[in-house]
Amino acid sequence: MRNLISFIIKYSFLFVFLFLEIIAFSLLVSNNSYQRSAYISASNKLTSNIQNTVSETTDYIGLKDVNEKLATENAFLRSQLLESNLWKADSLLQHIDTQKTQFYSYIHSQIISNSFQSRDNYLILDKGISDGVEVEMGVISSDGIVGIVNSVSENFCSVISILHSKSAIDAKITSNKYTGTCFWPGSDYRLGELKNIPSHTKLTKGDTVVTSGNSSIFPPEIPIGFINDFKLKPGRSFYNIEIQYNTDYNRISHVYIIHNLLKGELKKIKEVRDAK
C-alpha cells in the first residue's frame, strides 16, 4: 500500500495529466448535438450575454452593408407584391387569396455566434422557444441556405451549419432539374460537394444549384451555390461535382428561420403511409 502511494506521488504529474484529459474527453464526447441544448441554457447565460454585446457592436459597424443588402431585398420583394403586377381583367379572379394556402412563414433572427473554420460548424441565433422556434426548422440568409436548427432553449437556438460533416441537403440543378445531395467535404468554407447526379446528364460550369423542396424543411428554389467544377471518373455512374456556395458564411449576420406551417399534416400523411 505504501509502495502504491509513493508510486502515485512519484508519477503524480502523469496521473494528473491523464485525469484531466479524461475529463476533457468526456466533455468532448458527451457534447453531441443533443447535449448542446443543455450547454446553451446553462453555461451560455454568461457567455452569450458578452457575445451579445460584442455582436451588437460589430453589427453596428457593419450597418451600412446590411442596410444595402436589406434594401435590395426589400426592392426585390416589393416587385413581387400584387400591387406591382399589371392585372389582366380576366385573370384577376383566379388570384384571390382564398385559393392559396400559405406553406412557409419566416422568423427574422440575428446571429450571435458563428463558426466556419472547424470541421463541424454551428451557429447560435437570438430566437428561441418563446419566439416559436422548433427543432428541425430550416435557416436561410438573403443569399441562400444556412443550416438546420438542432436544439432550442428559451431565448436561443443552435443551428447545424451546412458547413458540417453530417449535413446533407437535397439539391437540384436548375438547368436540367436533376436532384442530388449536397455535402461539405471540409476543406474550404466556400466549396461544397454535390453527389448522386447520374453520368448521363449534361452539366455546364456555372449552373446554379438550389434546394429541391423535397425535404419540407426548405422551400424549393432557395439558392445553394453554383457548379464550380465537375469530373467523371471512368467506370463511375455519378459525377463528382464541386460547387461554390452562394453565401459567404464568413460575413452573414442576419438570417430567417423557416416555419413550415403544414409540417404536422405532412407528418401525419407519412405516418399513414408507413403504417400500411
Partner: protein, 171 residues
C-alpha cells in the same frame, strides 16, 4: 514577489482568453488557418510553478476558451496536453540559464533565439493535438497536416509579436 507574479498571471489569463475569443477567433486566412494565441499563457508560466498546478491552470484556460467557442473539451484537452509537454520542451531546447532562480521564460531573460524555438515547439504540439482531435480521424490526414503547419506558423508569429509588445522593460 510571489504575489506580484500571481496577479500578473491572473491578468494575463483574462487578457489572453478575451483576446482569443473576440479578436483572434474572428481572424481567418482563407478558412484554412486560424491563429490561436492562448498557449501564450502556458508558455509564459514561471519555471518554478508546480507542474501539477500548471496542468490544472491549463485545464481552466482551455475550459474558458471552450465556453466561449462552444466546442466543449476541444481546447481543454489541447491546453492540458501543452502543459504536459512543457517540461519536455525546456529540457530539449536547453539553455544553462533555465534552472537559475528568478529566470522567467521570455525574450528578456533567455534571448530571442531560445524563445522562438521554445514557442514553436509548444505551439506545434498544441496545434497537432488540437486539429487531429477536432477532425477525430486520419481520413483527411494531409489536409489536417497542412492546416497544422500554416496555423502553427501564424500562431507562433502572433505569440512572439505579443510577447515583444508586452515584455517588461529591462532595467
Amino acid at each position: 514577489m510571489l504575489n506580484r507574479s500571481f496577479f500578473i498571471n491572473i491578468l494575463r489569463f483574462i487578457a489572453v482568453v478575451l483576446a482569443q475569443v473576440f479578436i483572434f477567433n474572428k481572424l481567418n486566412f482563407g478558412g484554412i488557418a486560424n491563429p490561436m494565441i492562448y498557449p501564450l499563457f502556458i508558455i509564459l508560466l514561471p519555471f518554478e510553478t508546480n507542474n501539477n498546478l500548471n496542468l490544472i491552470v491549463a485545464f481552466m484556460l482551455g475550459l474558458s476558451v471552450d465556453l466561449f467557442t462552444g466546442s466543449m473539451g476541444l481546447h481543454t484537452s489541447a491546453a492540458v496536453f501543452t502543459a504536459f509537454i512543457r517540461p519536455l520542451a525546456y529540457r530539449v531546447i536547453s539553455s544553462n540559464r533555465v534552472y537559475e532562480s528568478g529566470i522567467k521564460p521570455g525574450i528578456n531573460d533567455l534571448g530571442i533565439r531560445w524563445f522562438i524555438s521554445y514557442t514553436f515547439f509548444l505551439v506545434f504540439a498544441h496545434h497537432f493535438f488540437f486539429f487531429y482531435i477536432e477532425s477525430f480521424s486520419f481520413n483527411e490526414f494531409w489536409h489536417t497536416l497542412l492546416k497544422i503547419i500554416i496555423s502553427t506558423l501564424l500562431s507562433s508569429l502572433f505569440i512572439i509579436i505579443l510577447d515583444f509588445i508586452f515584455k517588461p522593460h529591462k532595467k
